[in-house]
């Protein structure tokens, strides 16, 4: 169930004054079970890129293969693709519309043509997965707190049982606790169901903590595509395009500059602590 992009180009409003090339010759492959992070400054083409994964946007040129099949071929079942590649937009709570939480989460499965019982079963399962308290199942989604709304909306996508989950800044506007809880639950999902997770984020700390691979976007082009350590080693270049490395990377570089014998490739606080301890013991 891999997603493979070949020379994808996307141009907004071609032939008008607002013409803009949002994606330039993107080629990449995401394999089943990967946890991929996508970073890039505002307007770098991240959101445009992820909307190609489930066929919401059609590339101006290039090909996209899901599970080996070209999705731009005529007669390709887009609806099926969209239930396999679940896309959680930024501020997904803005899409809630039903009278109670459980019916809203049922919307996706219902569109897949499942029976009412099966829908509710899946909805409950999804709500449990995101840690949504059962006592609010019958409450109006508009009366929930921000964090709970976000969970309900993510559950709305999970209820379709996608094989790939794409999240566009799932933690924007949440407090640190809500952020950690949601990301931990996503990681749990990834580990236990072998679901592919693609996470778009502005937080280098979050990215460094959870993902196995980072894709860096810059002005519609793929700038880096590697494991976090390798990507954050280019922290000077990242700064030039308005990004940064996790704070601990800077601390490690500073320690090294002050004569401490440490490796500078730590990207999480735990790794850094271990590395500093090691240098003391040596």
């Amino acid at each position: 169930m891999s997603i493979k992009l070949e020379h994808i180009n996307y141009i907004y409003s071609p032939g008008t004054a607002y013409e803009k090339q949002a994606l330039k010759d993107i080629s990449l492959e995401i394999k089943q079970g990967e946890f991929v992070g996508i970073i890039g400054h505002t307007g770098s083409g991240k959101s445009t890129l992820i909307q190609h994964f489930n066929g919401l946007m059609k590339a101006t040129s290039g090909a996209l293969y899901y599970d080996g099949k070209n999705i731009y071929e005529t007669g390709y079942n887009m609806k099926e693709l969209r239930s396999q590649v679940g896309l959680v937009f930024q501020y997904p709570e803005h899409q809630l519309f039903e009278v109670d939480v459980i019916s809203d989460v049922c919307f996706g499965p219902k569109n897949q043509g499942l029976s009412q019982e099966e829908c509710e079963k899946r909805a409950k399962e999804a709500l449990e997965l995101v840690g949504f308290p059962e006592k609010y199942y019958k409450q109006s989604p508009f009366e929930l707190s921000g964090g709970q709304k976000r969970r309900a909306a993510i559950a709305g996508v999970l209820a379709m049982r996608p094989k790939v989950l794409v999240l566009d800044e799932p933690t924007a506007g949440l407090d640190p606790r809500g952020r950690d809880e949601i990301l931990d639950q996503i990681e749990y999902l990834h580990k236990n169901t072998n679901m592919t997770v693609i996470l778009v984020s502005h937080s280098m700390e979050d990215i460094a903590r959870y993902v196995d691979r980072i894709i860096v976007m810059n002005h519609g082009e793929k700038m880096f595509d590697d494991v976090p350590k390798a990507v954050f080693a280019h922290y000077r270049e990242l700064e030039k395009v308005g990004l940064a490395a996790p704070q601990v990377t800077y601390i490690m570089h500073a320690l090294k500059a002050h004569g401490m014998d440490v490796h500078t490739d730590a990207t999480t606080v735990e790794e850094a602590a271990e590395e500093i301890m090691r240098s003391f013991h040596d």
């Binding site: 409003s13 004054a17 919401l56 969209r82 679940g86 803005h94 899409q95 919307f107």
Partner: protein, 274 residues
């Protein structure tokens, strides 16, 4: 998807027309629209065409864009033309097939109506293409300012207009986003009969209304936080001032009006092509 609507859109470019005072553009557009209905001769339409063509050239908006703005009204245009063509009973008969009769007068009225409506839309879209919604409402506010004397809340109305205009692109974007989010959840917006289609709109309309109210609430709060209290005693950061080019534009338009009026009144011969 819904972003292809060009009518009422602003087209950024650097041109004399773009730089004109919005008041000039509003008044001159109105005068131009009136001029279309003041005369009834081929010569008059030739002058109107030349005037409109010159303005379009000066505005540097591609003709393609202006023509695109005609699309939404093409049905209205067709209906008007057909009704005038077939339902005018006066004049001498040209063609008579079954119950359809076309008279020379009917044909003339139909053609003139088509030209008038087309120019009407092109003329007004030139104004919206070259003026940002904000300066347009600024212009309207200033033009209607005298109405304040008879207790018309001009400033408030203008503020409401500019907020409404400002929110059109935001709500369009929002609709686009919500549509995509629901399509990603498997919503089917295209197939089915009219009732199913209407039902399929609920998952889009509910979040859209919620977001419109949320945004309205936020905006009201932000305005109050900056001590907004309506138009009384309010001054402008960039007050509208007439420049030389604005006066020149008035002169040109008035000259055009006089010319059209004279042609309609005093040129005795009507040159018909048919």
């Amino acid at each position: 998807m819904i972003r292809d609507i060009t009518i009422g859109q602003y087209y950024p470019a650097k041109s004399v027309i773009h730089r004109l005072d919005p008041r000039v553009k509003i008044v001159c557009t109105l005068l131009f629209l009136i001029s279309l209905f003041l005369q009834n001769s081929i010569l008059g339409y030739v002058i109107a065409t030349l005037f409109l063509g010159a303005v379009i050239c000066a505005s540097r908006v591609p003709l393609k864009f202006i023509v695109k703005g005609l699309k939404p009204v093409i049905m209205l245009l067709m209906i008007t033309v057909l009704f005038n063509l077939f339902l005018t009973r006066e004049g001498s008969e040209l063609i008579h097939i079954w119950i359809f009769r076309i008279t020379d007068k009917g044909l003339r009225i139909a053609v003139y109506m088509a030209i008038r409506l087309t120019y009407l839309i092109m003329g007004s879209s030139i104004m919206t293409f070259t003026t940002t919604p904000n300066s347009l409402t600024d212009g309207i506010e200033k033009l209607l300012h005298p109405l304040n004397k008879i207790k018309v809340p001009v400033h408030e109305v203008a503020m409401m207009m500019s907020i409404a205009l400002r929110f059109i692109p935001i709500l369009l974007e929002e609709t686009d986003k919500i549509m995509k989010a629901q399509i990603a959840r498997g919503a089917d917006l295209e197939s089915g009969n009219i009732i199913q289609k209407a039902k399929a709109m609920i998952p889009i309309l509910v979040p859209l209304f919620v977001s419109a109210f949320r945004r309205a609430n936020d905006l009201a709060m932000a305005m109050e936080a900056r001590c907004y209290r309506g138009g009384d005693g309010r001054t402008k950061m960039k007050p509208l001032v007439y420049h030389g080019r604005d006066r020149a534009a008035y002169v040109v338009t008035v000259a055009y009006m006089v010319l059209i009026f004279c042609v309609g009144r005093y040129v005795p011969f009507h040159i018909w092509i048919f």
